[in-house]
Structures are given as C-alpha cells and as structure tokens.
Amino acid sequence: MRTPNGLARAAVRFSPAAFTGTFVALVMAALIVSGCGILLETGLRASVPPQRYAGAPVLVAADQNVHRITGSGDDRDDEAIPLPDRARLDNSLVAKAASVPGARSAVADITFPVLGDRGALTGHGWGATAFTGERLGSGRAPRTGEIVVTRGVAAVGDRVTLTTANGPHRVIVSGVTVSSGATPTVWFTDSEAAAVSGHPGRIDTIAVLPADGVTPAELKKRVAHALGSRAQVHTGTGRGAVEDTSLGQARELLTALGGSFGGTATMVAVFTAAATVALSVGRRAREFALLRAIGATPRQIRRTIATEALLMAPLAGLLGCLPGIALAHWWFGQLRDRGAVPGAVQLSVSWIPLVSAVGAVLLTALVAGLAAARRAARIKPGRALAEAAVERIRPGWIRTPLGIAAVAGGFVCAGLASSLSGDEAAGASLGIVFLFMLATALLGPLLARAAAALFGLPLRGAGASASLAVANSRTNARRMASAITPIVLAMAFAATLVFMHTSEVRAADRQLRAATVADHIVSSGTGLPPDTVARAERLPDVTAAVALLKTAVLVPTPGNSPQQASAQGVTGSSTALARVQDLDVRKGTLSLRPGQVAIDIRLADAARVGIGDRLRLYLPDGTKAAPEVVATYGRGLGVSQVTLPASALAAHVTSPFATELWTRGGSAKALAPFGTVLDRGDRTAASSEERELSAWANAVMAAVLGGFAAIAAGNTLVMTVLDRRREFGMLRLVGGTRRQILRMVRWEALLVTLVGITLGTAIALATLVPMAQGITGEAPYVPPVLYGAFVAAALILGLTATALPARAALRGTLRR
C-alpha cells in the first residue's frame, strides 16, 4: 500500500556533510560498545592453560570465592566474591579422593615460601612430583630432615638452614633435580612439608590420577560425587584458574571494565548521539514545516527522520568497530603489562561484541531519530514558515519536572553512595554523574538562559560583538544548551574520576604520614623470619619493634556485598605498636590478644559494628572468624583498615612472613641486615602497586569518557556554527566586519565554555564531596594544576571548535 517516498535517501545523498555530525556520533558509539564489549567477553572467557597442573588430569581445589546469596526461589542471586588469598582443602579429603573407583592415586599438593641464605625459595612436598614430573639428576628422594633442591641451589650432601613458618630447620640436601626450574625450589617429604607449610592439615589442591581406561571426565564426575560440596573438581582449562589465583581478580577487573564502565560509556554515547540527531533535525525545521504544509502527516515526518538516521547507522557501526578493536587491544595490553591480567590470557575478539556494536548503533539511531522527530512532527506548518527562526521560550511541561527529579535523584544517590569504598565507589560515582547529566540535558535551555542572563550583565556594556553574543545566547537557548551539554559531560566525568582518585591518594598519604611515628621502617620483599621482632628488640637503642604482615580480609557489610579491607597482622605487643604507629584511636583501647581486632572507623560504620561487638569476617583463605572489636581508629585508609595479631592470620595466608619491621630507636646501620631500610621519603602509600594501577585505570577511564565527550562537544559546536551562514551574511550586509563577527562568535564560545566548565565542576563536586567524606572522611582534594589543565583544555576546545567553522561560514557570505 505504501511506497517509500524517498525523502530520507534524497536528503542524505544531497547534503552528506550536514549529516556528518550525526555520523561521527554514531561511529563513536560503536567504538565504545565494541571496545568495551571485547573486554567484557575476554573477561568472561579468560583462562590460562595450566602449567604446574598440566600433568594432573583431574584437580580438586577449594572454592576460591565467598558467596553472597540474596533472594530466594526464582529471584535467587548468587554473587561470588574472590578471596584475597588461596582457599585451602582439608587434608582428610585426600584419602576420600583416592578411594574413588577409577582413581589410580590422589596426590596432595602444597606450595609455600621458604627463606634460605640467598633469598626466598618455593617449597613443595616431594609427592607432588608424581604429576609435576621433576626428575632427579643426582642423589635420591628426601627422607625426614632431608630436602631435594633444584639445580644451582646447593649440592648433594650440603647442610642448609632454611627458615620456614615455624622457625629455622637444619636440613641435608639429599638430591638435586635435572633442571634448574623457573624458580629455586625445595622439596620436603610430604609430612614434613605439611608441618612447615604454615597451615598444617590444610592443602592447596589434590591431583587425582586416573587408572588406565578411565577418562578424566568420568573420573571428574565420580570425584565430585564423592566429595560433594566440600570441594570443586576441575579438568581442562579450568585448572589454570586454580593455579593462578590472580586470574579471578583479573576476570573481575575485565568484566567490570567492559560491563559496568562500558555500560555507562554506552549510555553516554547513546545520549550524545541522540542530542546530535536532535540538533541536526532542529536545523531543518523550515524544511519539515514545508513538508507539513504540502501534506506530510506527522507520522511521515517521523518516519523520514528515523530513516535518515537508520541509513547512516550500519556504515557508522562497521566503521566504529575498527577503532573499537584497537582500543580494546591497547587497553588489554596495558593491563597485561602492568600485571593486572596474567600474561597468558589472550584478548578474545569474536563477532559478538562487533554485532552488538552495530546493533546498538542501529537502535540508538532509531531511538534518537524518533525522539528528535517528535518535535519536528509537531511543528505547525503555518507558523514555522515565518521569516524569523526564533525558538519558543516556553519551558516544557514534561522536561522541567523530570529534570528537577533527576537532580534530586542525583543528590540522594550521592548520599547513599557515600558508604561505599574503592571500586564500588568509582562505579557508583559514574552513575551519579550520569543522573546529574540527565538533569542538565532536561533543564538545559532554562540553565542556558539563566547563565546567559547572569554572565550577560557585565558583557552588555563591552561592545557590539559582546552584547550581540549575549542576545544570541539568550534567545537561542536551546542551541546554546545543546552546545553546553557535551562540555559539561566531559568536565564532569573527567573531574569526578580523576579527583576521586587524587582525594583518596592524598588522604591516604596524609594518614600514613601522620600515623608513622616509628623512626625506621624496614621492608623485605622476600619476608622477615619469625624471630625478627625478638632480634630487633635486642638491638641497642631500640625501644619498640613490631613486624607487620600485610594482607586483606573480606568484611560483609549489610545491604552490600562483602568488601575487601586491608589488614595488618602485628607481631609484637600492643604497647609497642602504639609507640611506632599512631592510628588515631577514637574509641576503645588498642589490644592485640587472640580473638580481638581493631578496625577503621569507616569500616565500622559500613559493617555496623561498635566496640564490644563481634566483627564477622572472612580471613584471607575464606575461613570465617568473628573477633571482638576492641578499638576503632581514624587512619585506616593510610595504614590498614583492620589490625589483628599476626597469629590470627598466619595459618590463613600463603606467605606467613611479615614484610615490614617498624622500630622506635635503633640505627639504620644496625637494622640493615633485616632488609631495606626506608627513609621518610619512601613511605608514601602511593607507591604501592595497587594504587598505581588504580590511578592509571581511573586516568584511562577519564580519558575515554572525557575524550568522547570532547569530540561530541567539538561536533556540536561545529554544527551550530555552520548553521548560521545566513545570519552571518545578514550581519555583514548590515555592516559588521569579519573581525566583529568572529569576535561575537568567540564571546559566545567563551560563554558556552565557561558555563559548561562551571556546571561540570559543580556536578563533579556534588558527587565528590559525599563520596570523599565516605571514603576518606575529608573534603575532596583537587590539585590546582590538574584542574587548570582541564579548564584550559575545555577553553581551547570551545574556542577552536567555533572559530574554525565560523571562518569557513564567513568565507562566501557576501556573494549571494
């Protein structure tokens, strides 16, 4: 019945340049969706081939996650939170696994650190060689009191002293392996290994070797059946995840980047594309009015506009996928180089994210086109043919209340989110900024007029160009608003992400500086032997010494998933601790008896515990504990959020050796044998690897979002200026010189940019202040140089993106 009327195709073909702005916006949307989609897929599929366990077809390991189960029945949601350290199995399961029909043998495996004369060594039980395949080059298998070493560590018959978790051992080397291996390794007998591992009775994994004729899959089923829910059974590539526990964290990171950040970025992209389409449709109001007059129904207008957008979408989607893949490659490579992702993980680029990107672009174009068309279709044909193209000044009855609701929602969410921390905070902050951005978009014209009136007061007396600029901005509020919105976007996102991080780092630095009352801090990468504190105390002039074991625990918080909190296990008395660390104890008294814990005051708020309550937490290997809270202190962000006696942690971490020694008194020379003596300058929290990674990650996210918004801003500004050819022509006919017109454009650009910067900063502050309060307890820290750089970039963008097209628009204006 209906033949296509060819209007859309004709419009796009006639003046493709007019649609460039929309095209660019759609390409950027495809870029973001495909890039983040690839990262997300990689995170979901990431796996590492097993190396140590390559020879163990069926591997039994403990669940490396803590589970938070919400809801019930159909709504049951199981969230898995990875543990900070390796979860272990009970030794009794070995016999059970061995007794499964079809299993030739079941071998327990443990890995633990050992300190030798020349550095750290990795320790195992010799039984593990049944599947790891080390062979002796000389000597024989160890017996009690004997060890086998890799080549190059020692020779057969040497007597060595090794320091293990339970003190020094004198052992004889009974054998040397053929290869020198990746790292220097020692093998004890299985029983002795269990004793010195630091967690006797608990093993890392069980390798179950199948009897002849039994497939790994079959064996896996039987073992799983025998062990039930006490352990997980892995075959194939799943074993790699067991071997490398950092894979779990890496997958979390990738899915967070691809999923949550990608989701926000996609919303921003869709939003910007919609605004661009709306702008380009607004320019052609007269054309649509003519169509209405001749006899196009509102529905035909809507369909034409939607079709125009859809014509460009497929090509834009495909073009955007190429830089999207490049972005994913670069980002992933960087994450791998910085150690956030294990080196063996590969980026997986499949058709799924690419097709999703094209699909998302199509959907965006359609939705944006239809949304923009609503206004165009409602044009009264007679009115819009009037000569003056002035906008309606009435505020929308739907937009204004929605805009106000969005502002209110933003503030409420900011308040709620102030109880989060770390990565969750960063994710929540983006959502809050987005709400404020929505408000800006909805209330845009009102804000633009108000801003023009405000800034216009001083400008009105500043010459013809300036007063024209103000008048233009006041009447064409919608146009000005569409130019302001992307600048606000860029500024708000960039400022929030970057300054949230700087605030956190600065607060942590200040706290650590204030908390460090020790005279010396000795750090050891390999680990400090268990008798370090005793030896340090015997040194002359040393009045207090404590050793710190740094790890993390999981603290369940009501209403949220368990959050990871930094923890320090203290070897030493609480009085000694008080003399080297000033934690700014607010309530209670610091005490380090078994079953006691002191925590950061903000963690106490989040977990809703007070002095005397029991804090339920998960130790690093997943064991549940509930020590009594004896004190809360204020400097947890800089030092450590949880302070426990080291004995509470020692059996629940892979490496039970302390890494730092804090002393009051003593001399650097005397302390040098223990490790590296740090001087005051080195003791900043920012030097920790995790903080650096976080800084870089935030910077990249800010660059992606900010860069996107900047391009969108440039796009919009160019479009709005190129539109005004007729206006400039009229101004020149009336007697304006080129310079005056350019100056007018510059004033308008300045107005737009300043309003954008102000609004963006306001939104960033509205988000940062409550979140900084929640995380650091202080006001946010905005480094002036960095902020100045953002402002300068925005100004340069605004001025260039208007000056260049203005010059182009002025070129042919007197010829008609």
Binding site: M1, R2, T3, N5, G6, L7, A10, A11, R13, F14, S15, R286, E287, L290, L291, R292, A293, I294, G295, A296, T297, P298, R299, Q300, K380, P381, G382, R383, L385
Partner: protein, 270 residues
C-alpha cells in the same frame, strides 16, 4: 471535457459577479485568530465572513499587520482559527483531525509561498510530484511533465532548486500546486521576491490556471499591479475585511490602498 466546460462557465460567472450555482470554493464564517493571552494578546483576525466562488482569482490586500498572512493560513488549513468555521469546497476543515487535514492539503489544495517553496534535496520533478508521493501513490511522471510544460519549464525536470533562478523556482512551485488538480490554490505573496518581468510571467501562469483549468486562486499580495490580475480584490485592515473591488485596474486599487492606509494610520493615531 464536459467538466472542464462547466468549470469554465463557473469561472465566467465569477468574473462577471453573478453568483454561481453549487458550493462556494472557500467559505469563512466568523473566523477569529488571536495570538497570546490576556494583555499581550494580538488579534490578527477579528471576525471574517467571506464566500469565494469557484473558478475565480481573488487577491487579498492590506497594510502590513492587517492579518493577510494569518487569513491565508486559516483559510488554507495551515493554522486553526481561535473561533469560527472554514469550509473548503463544501468540507468543513476547522474540526478536522491533523491527519485528515493533511490528507486534504495533499490532494485538494495547492500552495505557493513567497520563498522557500522547494525542498533543496529533491530535483524539480521530484518536488513537483511530492504531494502524490506523500499520499503514498507512485509518482506520475507524465503528469509531472505535463504540468511542467504548462508552466514553461520542460527540460528542467532533473535540475535542483539551487540551479534555478527565483522566477523558475516559483514556477516549479506553481507546477507543484497544480499537479493534483486542486480545488483551491493559495498563494502567499508569490511575486514578492521577483522582478517585474518574472512577476508578470508568474501571474500570467496563475491567470491561465484560472481561465483554462478552472482553478480557484486566492492570492495575498501587497502589490496593486499584481492584484490587478485578479477578478476580485479584498482589502483587509486591522483583522477585518474593510473593502472590496471587482475588475478594477491597478491605479484604482492603488488609490483604494492609499486611502485605506491613510485612514488606518489616522485611525491608529486618533
């Protein structure tokens, strides 16, 4: 053939002032149009009662601000009057829904504006057949060629509007207005932007459409020379019909205009 003769006779009857048989082409009853509310309200039309017969060429003149354009837009269904009714060819359009009104505009009305008549992205031929395509029909290229030759633009079918002169663009607009054989053609200052020679050509086309095709044309203009081409001239002042002339030459129309403007000015000053 018979239909055309009937229209021709009706056209003759209109020119001689004899009331024709059948429904009038355009009928306005008590039409008012007000912009804004309360104190700042602008009364563009203050009660217009009018009947225009079929097959006639009517010009509407008046000083600026008299409501000419508003009158045209209300009569043509481009704008809704605040009060009163409008009938076109017997059909009441004031109560029609937007979709029905649009369908009416597509098939039974034609429009020519002072400027910006054509879509810049379409060729001349595509512009001419646009009403038909909007109605969902396949474009009738023979009809397009026929109507283009009627306005003297054969051979320019594939050009785009920016390649045509102002006069040629107006001719294309007239061609488009005539392509659906409308009941009424509404023209809003069609010669306003043209020089005298080209204006004469365009007016001749409109006159020809009335004489040979039996079309009804309602033209708003400020130029007495253009109004002289019409059968009747209506004078609008201050939103109401102040005067009318039939078959008058340009000089008399100009005099009447001057008198009207003067009294309007003194009336306003008083």
């Amino acid at each position: 053939m018979g239909l055309r003769k009937k229209r021709y006779e009706e056209g003759v009857a209109a020119r001689t002032g004899v009331a024709p048989a059948g429904r009038p082409a355009v009928e306005l009853r008590g039409v008012r149009r007000q912009f804004g509310r309360g104190q700042a309200a602008v009364h563009a039309l203050r009660g217009i009662d009018l009947e225009l017969a079929r097959g006639g060429f009517t010009a509407v003149m008046g000083p600026s601000g008299s409501g000419k354009s508003t009158f045209l837009q209300c009569a043509a269904g481009l704008d809704r009057p605040t009060a009163g009714t409008v009938h076109l060819g017997g059909t009441e359009i004031t109560g029609l829904s937007e979709n029905k009104l649009t369908a009416l505009r597509r098939t039974r009305l034609g429009f020519v504006f002072q400027a910006f008549n054509l879509l810049p992205s379409l060729t001349v031929e595509q512009n001419v057949v646009l009403p038909m395509r909007l109605a969902g029909h396949r474009p009738d290229r023979r009809r397009a060629a026929e109507v283009l030759s009627q306005v003297g633009l054969d051979g320019l079918a594939r050009r785009r509007p920016d390649q045509l002169s102002g006069g040629q663009q107006q001719r294309v607009a007239i061609a488009r207005a005539l392509v659906t054989r409308p009941d009424v053609v509404f023209a809003d200052e069609p010669t306003g932007a043209l020089d005298t020679t080209t204006a004469t050509e365009v007016l001749g086309l409109l006159r020809g459409a009335v004489d040979s095709l039996g079309a009804t044309v309602v033209m708003v203009t400020h130029d007495p020379a253009a109004a002289a081409w019409a059968d009747h001239v209506l004078f609008l002042a201050d939103g109401a019909i102040a005067d009318s002339l039939t078959g008058a030459p340009a000089a008399r129309i100009a005099d009447r205009m001057t008198a009207l403007t003067a009294s309007y000015r003194t009336g306003a000053a008083a």
